[in-house]
Symmetry: C2
Subunit: 249 residues, 2 copies
């Protein structure tokens, strides 16, 4: 499944005890169309309040509904803040997270003095003036393969903090500052800490060469604050076709 | 005040018994900054679910807060789906509805098969193919001074059903069909009935010359359905400066 959701009213992607999640909403819809209780796998565990325009999920079913028809079937039962854009049969061992070879995230900063009711819960409202050219310049520091320890929420253990970033750019679109970042994978809160740090550059609190220093010193305390979840959008997950397409295997 | 609001969670503009309204929310914020209980006048009574990007409202106060500072003061207390964009002192007899010499409304139709979670409650989701050029052509029928009885919710008595429309155009913006209509004033549900009728043109149920016929026959039953409130935006209210500016009087 390729799906989009407005994350404001969900406690993130992953099932948990104290709140309804996108994964559960999807599981409930799958139950309604198939009678089967199953928990779909997702490409990424978006946090509470984070949105998705291209999350990818998969699940195993005995349903006779053809793969391409699953999208419409699920949409008939899903809440209106979740929409399945596309569906297809994939090979049995396809896993949306393990096979992902990259992801594209976008972050929106609403940079004007007054709030915008239409971007409430969908952007980080930041009133002070920001130098988007400096932010863009500093963002390029992330491009390449680096140890991103400084840009990972502390207390998270992973095999390696090394990730490859292919693109990290800012551009202004009216009152919105748009951050696009693509990479092989992302650590916990990595995009939001990148944004918090680059906003520090934009307001002149630090300069672009400081970002390289922060990166090299591998210490979360040195980077900026974690930007709010509201502005983050999971845009796209990249795969090699042969990893999911049954015809190519 | 010039204000914007996301109307989804309000029972429209005007105070009523069975639900919280924008007017009340504004009244509550005025009370918090001034200690005065007053009900602001609005330029238009938007229905439940209708949005505004340029509603105009005024109120009488003994507060010593300068007119230009009222916006920030109110925003500190207003819910986050209402935002005051601008505020100023106006002449004592200014009335936002009575002095309005025109209004601009916009209507958004989301015209694609799958819903868009980001435009949920903010557009009319219409899946079937629509011919936007035909809709635009038919829309021009409304331009000029006409009796709009056919485009007014029945059971509403007004002095005259005559209104002047200056502009009524459709254009496509990706999956969105955008209807912009400007006029001297609008009858109850007028924009939404215009949209319902023009969508009938777009799907080929009626042709553009039928719209002229519907207009001339002055009968609500002949026009299309009332389009949902969700897609309607009050964009701007027009005034003659001398009607509000104390310096010009």
């Amino acid at each position: 499944l390729v799906l989009e959701y407005e994350g404001t009213r969900y406690h993130g992607w992953q099932i948990q005890d104290n709140g309804y999640t996108v994964q559960e909403a999807l599981s409930d819809a799958i139950y309604k169309i198939s009678g089967e209780r199953t928990m779909p796998h997702g490409a990424g565990r978006t946090d509470a309040g984070v949105h998705a325009l291209g999350q990818v999920a998969s699940f195993l079913t005995n349903s006779r509904i053809p793969g391409e028809r699953i999208a419409d079937a699920l949409n008939a039962y899903l809440p209106r803040n979740i929409s399945v854009l596309d569906s297809r049969d994939v090979s049995l061992d396809f896993h949306p997270r393990k096979h992902a070879r990259g992801k594209h995230y976008r972050y929106l900063v609403l940079n004007r003095s007054r709030r915008d009711v239409m971007f409430e819960n969908r952007s980080w409202h930041y009133s002070a003036e920001l130098d988007v050219e400096m932010m863009n310049k500093a963002g390029s520091t992330f491009v390449g393969t680096h140890d991103f320890t400084s840009f990972c929420a502390s207390g998270h253990s992973v095999k390696t903090f090394e990730r490859t970033i292919h693109k990290a750019t800012w551009h202004r679109m009216g009152d919105l500052l748009v951050f696009d970042v693509e990479g092989s994978g992302f650590l916990y809160n990595m995009v939001r800490i990148m944004v918090g740090t680059l906003v520090d550059v934009g307001r002149g609190k630090i300069i672009d060469s400081d970002v390289r220093d922060i990166l090299e010193r591998k210490n979360r305390m040195l980077a900026g604050a974690t930007a709010p979840a509201d502005g983050l959008y999971m845009m796209k997950v990249f795969y090699n076709e042969e990893d999911y397409d049954t015809k190519l295997r």
